[in-house]
Amino acid sequence: MKKIRFMAALLCLFLVNVIPVSASEEVSLPKVVDNAELLSDAEEAELTKLTNDIAAVYQIDVVLVTENERQEADIQAEADMLFDSNGYGIGDKKDGVLFVLDMKNREWAISTHGDAITLFSDYDLNSLGQTAAQSYFANGQYRDGFITYVAGIVHICEEKLNSQVDGQSAGDESTEANAADGSAEPNAADKFEKNQPSNSGTAGGNQTQEKVKTPSEPKTPVDYIASALVCGLIITIICMKVMKSRMKTAYKQMNANVYQNKDASLQIRKNEVFLTSSITKVPVKQKDPDPPRHPDPQRHSRTTTTVHTSDNGERHGGASGKF
């Protein structure tokens, strides 16, 4: 079912372009910047249309950049700089994901911003980038590489939407940050649910890094209907039992308390004899001074996102690699 929905979404992006693109209204920035001249005009137009469609449907700015010369020493910093300085991103939080391909150093990097930080985990970004770089860019198939990358973006966005629609819990982890400033924003949960794998990745370089865990999905009002019905049933059973019991007053007396003479002296003598004493001791479990924070590393690695701060002071997620 999910595959069908995914295919339908892809088909929709390829064939239909009827929804107004808010991103294009916001900025007229090019979504595909082919400085390295790797794409033909037709391919560039095709990719531009795809990125515009994604922006319209998922409200995520998808940017593809190729270049031969870069301004920053670190490819991740280059991606962050391109995103920040050109004003990419949609909405107040500037939600977006930028892919930069450095042909001179044969490196790639992805930079995420806004809600896209928690939408794409490290695992997602590494997987998307490495698949495109190793399988396509390394063989000179730039158009196919970018198409695969964009399709991967759509797939992840669609999965998040599905999990939201199905009301499935995307994870029981809550957002937390271990950075010094520790200000992981509780942001993406309201738009998309984190449910994607992540990897340790190579994000951030020497920049500040934070770990963002998946926020737990809030329960919807529908989830409470069953609980309310069960509680209502219990209350009804109790109420009706009480009402029915009031209809019967023929019962035997249990004791003769009312006939006890309260005026006559009631004497009660108390006695307590100590018999024996025993002491048992149980070893106290010593607490591990540094317990593992994540008992399931596999699960943890697939659900975490590394966050870093760019030179412009913006928070970014990201991944990078070589090919």
Binding site: A228, I235, M240, M243, T249, A256, R269, V273, S277
Partner: protein
């Protein structure tokens, strides 16, 4: 090592005397108890457990008397109405009734004399109209009651009856023993310690019970007669036949020897309740009643006629019986339940409570 037939107070295992420590030791749980303690323990337990409950009821001076003479007619006893001379049928236990011909009250003196002479009587405090009002009030607020059930027309055979009761009074002395445990916990860096101290708790009580009633009539339902209790004996009068006039009355046909078991059950239950209340439950982590003994001294049994209104309500081919305390107006009986109303209420409560809970949950969610 030698053994002695003492049981461990903790686990019930056989205690074994340890010559090393000069104490009794339980091989099961390892408890150690010195001889003085176990001797004291055994004395208390045996004093309670080995003695049986005793209930000493004084014999009254009620002597047996010859049967009241009556004419036999077709195998039944027939009495003659002193007013009209008509034949009044009465069964073996009838002490007072009404003449079917002249509606005159008829008292059968032989049924309330000699061994059947009541010691006490509580005169009726409520008349028929008051009983109907009482029943009307009783039906009020019963939402599951079928409409039309309460109607004066439905009330049939409303009858004021002096019911025979045996009244038991006594001084109750006895003891209740408990196994009690106090638990104290503490810990250090390496161990968590639990100290369990076992105690034998004894409570001895001395109290009085007065006029515990037990229905002495086979015809009257014991459950209904207990349900309309209590009767206030402060309004009891010395029996005079005149009180019976205008009412029906039965003489007892269940002897006091049979009724006293029920009185003893209730007295013992109350005795234990009172004693249990004197134990501070917060003082012990667990406290379990081990056994109890009660001695009833100075027991006194009196025969009394107590006022009871009985009537039936006929509704939809079914007859529902009720009894009303003729002194206090307390009603006993089972009212019918309207199935339709029942399910309507259930549905309403279910829908209402579910919606309220749902809204509360949403509010908390927001």
């Amino acid at each position: 090592m030698s053994t002695k037939g003492y049981k461990c107070p903790c686990c019930g295992g056989n205690l074994v005397f340890s010559s090393e420590i000069q104490k009794l030791r339980c091989p099961s749980c390892g408890n150690e108890i010195d001889m003085d303690t176990i001797r004291q323990y055994a004395e208390i337990v045996e004093s309670v457990e080995e003695q049986k409950d005793t209930f000493d009821w004084e014999e009254d001076s009620r002597g047996s008397q010859g049967e009241w003479k009556a004419r036999e007619k077709d195998g039944r006893k027939v009495y003659t109405c002193p007013s009209c001379g008509g034949d009044v049928d009465a069964d073996q236990t009838t002490a007072a009734t009404k003449c079917p011909y002249c509606d005159s009250p008829v008292i059968l003196p032989g049924q309330v004399s000699g061994e059947f002479h009541p010691d006490l009587i509580i005169p009726f405090q409520l008349d028929q109209d008051a009983v109907k009002e009482v029943f009307k009030e009783y039906c009020k607020g019963k939402k599951l009651l079928p409409r039309g059930f309460w109607s004066e027309h439905n009330i049939k055979e409303i009858t004021g009856v002096y019911a025979p009761f045996w009244m038991f009074s006594c001084r109750a002395k006895g003891a209740v023993i408990y196994d009690a445990e106090k638990i104290k916990k503490w810990r250090d860096d390496y161990y968590e310690y639990t100290q369990s101290d076992l105690y034998l708790v004894t409570r001895e009580g001395d109290m009085f019970f007065e006029y515990v009633p037990v229905d002495g009539s086979v015809e009257l339902d014991d459950t209904y007669m207990e349900a309309i209790e209590p009767f206030g004996m402060e309004m009891a009068e010395k029996f005079e036949e005149g009180y019976l006039s205008g009412y029906e009355a039965f003489k007892y046909d269940v002897p006091k020897e049979k009724c006293r078991r029920r009185a003893e059950e209730r007295i013992k239950s109350s005795f234990e309740d009172t004693i249990n209340q004197s134990v501070n439950k917060n003082e012990y982590q667990t406290i379990i009643q081990k056994s109890s003994r009660i001695d009833c001294k100075n027991g006194r049994v009196q025969y009394a006629l107590l006022p009871v209104w009985t009537f039936n309500v006929k509704y939809k081919d079914k007859t529902y019986s009720y009894a009303v305390n003729g002194q206090t107006g307390k009603v006993a009986g089972n009212l019918p339940v309207d199935r339709g109303v029942f399910w309507k209420f259930a549905l309403g409560v279910f829908a209402g409570s579910s919606v309220i809970i749902y809204l509360l949950m949403i509010l908390l969610l927001l």
